[in-house]
């Protein structure tokens, strides 16, 4: 296990700044996920931690020891790649044993560890094959075996599931999670897939354009996004965003956009007061819109269904409230058809208010 500390870490490729002033602590045995869109700097950050990229500025420490100039083979890391990166000329056995052979581990111990890892990953029957004779899922298991057999201090995984089909992705994801639970080693995992991030991570780092947008537990990231980017990046279907303004409604305030009027209460009211007259962006997750209960919260509203997308386990519908188009999530029993009028309410505390100019969530 290792504690990783990134302090003011930056990486530039010529004039292009790929990672900017990254400050991050990865705790012993933690499963940390770097999440973000393509080109956000997450893989570069992982490569810097691995020692495969030099950093331009800042300090990187493993267990307090500065490793800025320590080459990868002296960092006691293991890495799994999106492309598997298996040695094509070696058998599965030799692929898994390669790191141990380099470390001059006794042959008997190598054999024992390779076979144990292969059994754990259910690839024991493939040990004599070459990578070219394996399926994608089998290859990724070999890549995982190559990593775990070395008992490294840190596992680094660069989108290891991205090349697998949907069903294999789910099973391999479960395998990785159980590996972490069994090994309790520090994992740093890069992905652009929010489902992977949410299901695997102890904590998630959301990155965009080389900058950390938010660091927190999956619950925090999902339920208390710090800005519009994080709010939009997590959640499927995406959070609804409605531009509007805060206007007085009697003694209180309300969010107003055309015919959509949401009276504000509690913390939302406090936040709205601080914002004053500046324009705001209302964020509303589809599953937070209550279509079954008419009462409570912000009162009952009506919406005209314009699109129905049944998924089997649930149904997504697009519905219009005045000029505003919302996406709602219905359970599979709720009937919905284009042209139907839907009644919905928004329970208290389920809305997110962002400053329209800065995109940052309104502070309480």
């Amino acid at each position: 296990m290792a504690h990783i500390s990134c302090s003011h870490l930056s990486k530039n490729f010529g004039a292009v700044s790929v990672v900017r002033d990254l400050n991050l602590e990865v705790h012993d045995g933690e499963f940390l996920v770097l999440l973000g869109p393509s080109g956000c700097g997450k893989t570069t950050t992982l490569n810097i931690i691995a020692g495969l990229e030099d950093l331009s500025e800042g300090e990187l420490r493993f267990d307090g020891k500065l490793v800025n100039f320590v080459p990868p083979h002296m960092r006691n890391i293991a890495m799994v790649f999106q492309s598997y990166a298996l040695y094509p000329q070696k058998s599965v056995y030799d692929n898994i044993a390669f790191g141990l052979t380099l470390a001059r581990t006794p042959r008997q111990e190598i054999d024992q560890r390779v076979r144990a890892a292969a059994a754990q990953l259910e690839i024991a029957h493939l040990l004599d094959r070459k990578p070219g004779q394996l399926s994608g899922g089998q290859r990724q298991r070999v890549a995982l075996g190559r990593a775990i057999v070395r008992k490294p201090s840190v596992f680094l995984m660069d989108e290891p599931l991205s090349n697998l089909d949907a069903s294999l992705r789910v099973s391999t994801r479960a395998l990785i999670k159980s590996l972490h639970q069994a090994l309790r080693t520090t994992f740093v995992y890069v992905t652009h897939d929010q489902a992977e991030a949410m299901t695997l991570a102890d904590r998630i780092v959301v990155m965009n354009q080389g900058v950390v947008q938010q660091l927190g537990t999956p619950y925090e990231i999902y339920h208390a996004p710090r800005n519009v980017f994080v709010a939009a990046f997590l959640g499927s279907p995406q959070m609804n965003f409605v531009e509007g303004s805060i206007q007085p409604r009697g003694a209180a305030l309300a969010f107003v956009q055309g015919t959509l009027v949401l009276p504000l209460e509690g913390d939302d009211l406090l936040r709205a007061r601080r914002q004053g007259a500046r324009p705001v962006l209302l964020g509303l997750r589809p599953e937070d819109i209550d279509v079954r209960q008419g009462g409570g919260g912000c009162g009952l509203m009506e919406a005209l269904i314009t699109l129905v997308a049944p998924l089997g386990s649930e149904t997504h519908v697009n519905a219009r409230v005045g000029e505003v188009e919302l996406v709602l999530r219905l359970d599979k029993e709720t009937p919905a058809a284009v042209g139907d009028v839907l009644q919905f309410s928004i329970p208290r505390g389920r809305i997110h208010l962002f400053d329209k100019e800065t995109g940052i969530v309104l502070a309480a």
Binding site: H73, A78, Q82, L86, L102, A103
Partner: protein, 317 residues
Amino acid sequence: MNVLSGPAPAQAPHKPIWPVLAPKLVILTGSLLFLAYVLGPIYWVFASSMMSESEIVSKPPNWVPDELNLQNFRSIFFYSEEKVTYETRRATDPTAGSFVPSAAQNLVPALLNSLTVGAWVAALNILLSLTAAYAIARIRFRGRNAALYSILATRVIPDIALVVPLFLVMRNLDLVDSKLALVISYLAITLPFTMYILINYFESIPVDLERAARADGCSHFQVLWHVFLPIGMPAVVASLLFAFLSSWNEFLLALILTSTINGQTLPIVISGFVFDFTTSFSFINAAGVVAIIPPVLLAILFERHIVGGLTAGAVKG
């Protein structure tokens, strides 16, 4: 039971066969002609090396030797002092005899010289070009592009322009008429090419493989040895063959830089037979056969390594 009912299907109209057959015949004829063009001279060298002089010069040509005469090969490998002199040459029917040139005794030493020079050039090429190509293909360092382009720029200069400067350098180093002079010169000529072959191949190897090896605990040298060398074997073998064959066939520099059998290679010695007063076509062709065999054997030996697709399964295709 016949389950079909109704009228019997109409018989298909007879299709002319020529439109289908003609293109195939054209391709076959073209291929055979090309094969004859390529293999004809080689066959003639082999066949005539075992013919008598009269058979070689006969009209119409005698394509198949009347009898297999291995006298020339015996003369090359078991040279005796019974060489032909001007007097014996005059006393013999020139179309009947197989004359052994006076310099025939130099063939085996020249063969060994060629093998020695070729082996050194090939070995040094691999050693130097592998490390240099890996560094240029995979390590980002200041001056990388300048190094690459300056190496390639040396090949823009024709060999003939280098002959005199090289001779002067070798003379000053007291290396004229030595195999070392040839090894150094051939290395300078072949190294940019072999580096270029390997750089291109190494750049095509997925970067994740190198990264995986480094994460597995490899230093740069170990990445080269354990990953790039096995995967790059087709390019390595191609470079090795190129370096060996280039030095095996090279004539101009060997002619200028060597003067005795101490350093002379096969092309120089064989070319000398043409000027011998006992020019024997069959003997020259036998020497040609001897010159052909080592590179052919080398190519056969390494042929199985010159195959593509060695990265199959390495990364997601």
